[in-house]
């Protein structure tokens, strides 16, 4: 049985203010239920790509299709399609502060469902169940500025999930979180994947990439698509990762032997200590 195509991105190019390139000629497809990670160094265009996938900004060149419908500024002006698209796709922003604009946590989670005209009972059920899942009930009456970064991220995720989107886009979900909150979030994303939702995560954290995705899309520092394939294959291709600046050569000594390894940007400093090629 053919997999249902969710996103079809063809030759997409986008630049800020028509001057600063963010994406160059990007082409890929995403099918229903896939667990995708978009990898790239800082400034490679990951966030712009997510915003394009969420129909928030529009490419100057190329074509975007969502579930076989054209996704453009014009088609999103059609209220019915807009409602359909916003119901199907949710984005968790990297900066939780811009996403949490309501006065209280309860209002924040309710915002999406209220815009979707769901019944009050249904809204309350969703808020209660999500809050129980993410342990947010005690924060209902709190203002977003009173929350820690981890709590803000959880509220941001809950407020996106409250609409029950089929496709969940997450921009650097673990950035700024302490290790315990990071692990809890990864665990939660794995649970989410198991419910059949399509998840697309933009990150440069290779540690979480292998835990939350099966397929990786790699952007290079020239804002082009460098590679696409299974996450396992991509993460084991050291040359590719070095080339796109996701890992770097690290030189140091152990027991008087100076050797070099490759390290990911955020991975912990742990590796097998087989002496590498001696450099001095």
């Amino acid at each position: 049985m053919a997999l249902e195509n969710i996103f079809n991105v063809k030759g997409v190019s986008y630049s800020f203010l028509n001057r600063f390139p963010a994406l160059e000629n990007i082409t890929f497809k995403i099918n229903r239920g896939e667990r995708i990670v978009i990898l790239g160094a800082n400034g490679s265009g990951k966030s712009s790509l997510l915003q394009i996938l969420d129909g928030l900004v529009f490419p100057q060149k190329g074509e975007m299709r969502f579930m076989d419908h054209e996704l453009s500024e014009n088609t999103l002006k059609d209220e019915e399609f807009n409602r359909f698209f916003r119901k199907k796709v949710g984005l968790v922003f990297q900066n939780s502060d811009v996403q949490l604009f309501s006065s209280t946590v309860w209002d924040e989670i309710a915002f999406g469902p209220v815009q979707m005209d769901l019944s009050e009972n249904e809204i309350q059920t969703r808020i209660t169940e999500l809050s129980e899942l993410l342990d947010l009930k005690k924060l209902w009456d709190r203002a977003p500025y009173q929350l820690s970064e981890g709590e803000k991220k959880k509220v941001a995720i809950a407020s996106t999930l409250a609409v029950n989107p089929d496709v969940l886009l997450l921009d650097e979900p673990t950035s700024g979180l302490d290790p315990r909150t990071q692990s809890a979030l990864v665990e939660f994303l794995q649970i989410l994947n198991s419910t059949g939702k399509t998840t697309i995560i933009a990150t440069h954290d290779l540690n979480i990439a292998k835990m939350v995705s099966d397929k990786a899309i790699v952007l290079n520092e020239s804002h082009k698509l460098e590679a696409e394939g299974s996450t396992g294959d991509i993460l084991s291709d050291t040359d590719l990762l070095l080339n796109v600046n996701l890992i770097h050569k690290h030189i140091h000594s152990h027991d008087g032997v100076v050797h070099s390894h490759s390290h990911s940007h955020l991975s912990e400093h742990e590796h097998d200590h087989e002496p590498g090629p001696e450099t001095s």
């Binding site: 984005l91 922003f93 949490l100 604009f101 006065s103 209280t104 209002d107 209220v114 005209d117 500025y145």
Partner: protein, 309 residues
């Protein structure tokens, strides 16, 4: 060889630390601390809201309605004793709402001289309001006329002047007390939500709510920038360079707030905003709220009747 300067430390005389001259805090630091404390601690403090007092237990919609009616009634009262009665009522309510009376009264009377005192003082003198003399202040040889202004031979404080100035000041004090009570005993978001029930446009209250929310974010950012700058300043700065820095920062804060507003709008669109923001009303009236409304309306009606007798 590069970075030689970075590898060697640089000597600087450390002093004893005992020769500190008394220097006043820079005006930026004082202003920032003042603004931050005003917004974060005074205006929007939730500490009192969380105390289980009388007014805290009343539904925000009932409070907004009845306090609004009380303020209208106070503005209609001509009798100063009725106005004083409402002021006394606010003090009793503050007591039963577990608000420290000294704290409550200071908060109210701090602003009265500033806003109403200046307006009320001229009314005391016979230059503006003729009446029976109470205290004689200045006596000239004769009356003086300066264009349209007429200065009588004797300037004195009149009984009528004292009455009208006191009525005005007490009216402001009672109204401010009612507003302060409402704000201290109700969460700010709940006040905004309650306003929508009384047909204040939702868009307006939502924008107010967002202003409240992002004031916090911008204040924190400004504080961080200021502290980062402070940590790199060696020695003391004069106020001229501080003022120059503030001017530059105003531009950056404005740009930052514009960027935030764009991002916030984008995130609203991402979550389904099409034309108008929809909000949900989650309040529920309880018997105590009905009792509160009925009691307030009875008090207002009786006092209005007394006022017109």
């Amino acid at each position: 060889m590069k970075f030689e300067w970075l590898k060697s430390g640089e000597d600087i005389h450390c002093g004893t630390g005992h020769n500190a001259r008394h220097r006043r805090k820079g005006f930026i630091e004082k202003t920032l601390k003042g603004i931050t404390s005003f917004f974060l601690n005074d205006i929007f403090s939730e500490e009192i809201v969380l105390r289980g007092g009388l007014l805290q237990s009343i539904d925000p919609r009932a409070k907004v309605l009845t306090f609004g009616l009380f303020i209208i009634a106070v503005s209609l009262f001509k009798n100063i004793f009725l106005i004083c009665g409402v002021y006394l009522l606010t003090i009793i309510l503050a007591y039963f709402s577990k608000i420290g009376l000294r704290f409550f009264m200071i908060r109210v009377w701090l602003f009265i001289p500033l806003f109403s005192g200046i307006i009320a003082i001229p009314a005391l003198f016979n230059i503006f309001v003729p009446g029976e003399p109470v205290i004689e202040l200045i006596k000239f040889d004769s009356e003086k006329v300066f264009g349209p202004f007429h200065i009588p031979q004797t300037i004195y404080i009149t009984r009528q002047g004292i009455m009208s100035a006191s009525t005005f000041v007490m009216r402001v004090a009672a109204s401010v007390s009612l507003v302060v009570l409402l704000v201290l005993t109700t969460k700010w978001p709940h006040i905004l939500k309650a306003l929508t029930v009384y047909r204040i446009p939702r868009f307006f209250t939502f924008i107010l709510g967002m202003t409240y929310r992002y004031i916090h974010l911008l204040l924190r950012q400004i504080e961080d920038v200021y502290l980062a700058r402070k940590s790199r300043i060696i020695g003391y700065e004069n106020s001229r360079s501080e003022r120059k820095w503030v001017a530059t920062q105003i531009k950056f804060v404005l740009k930052r707030s514009l960027k935030i507003s764009e991002d916030v709008y984008t995130s609203m669109i991402s979550r389904g905003l099409i034309h108008e923001i929809k909000v949900i009303d989650s309040f529920k009236f309880r018997p105590v709220d009905y009792v509160w409304i009925i009691l307030s309306i009875v008090i207002i009606s009786v006092t209005l009747r007394l006022n017109w007798l």
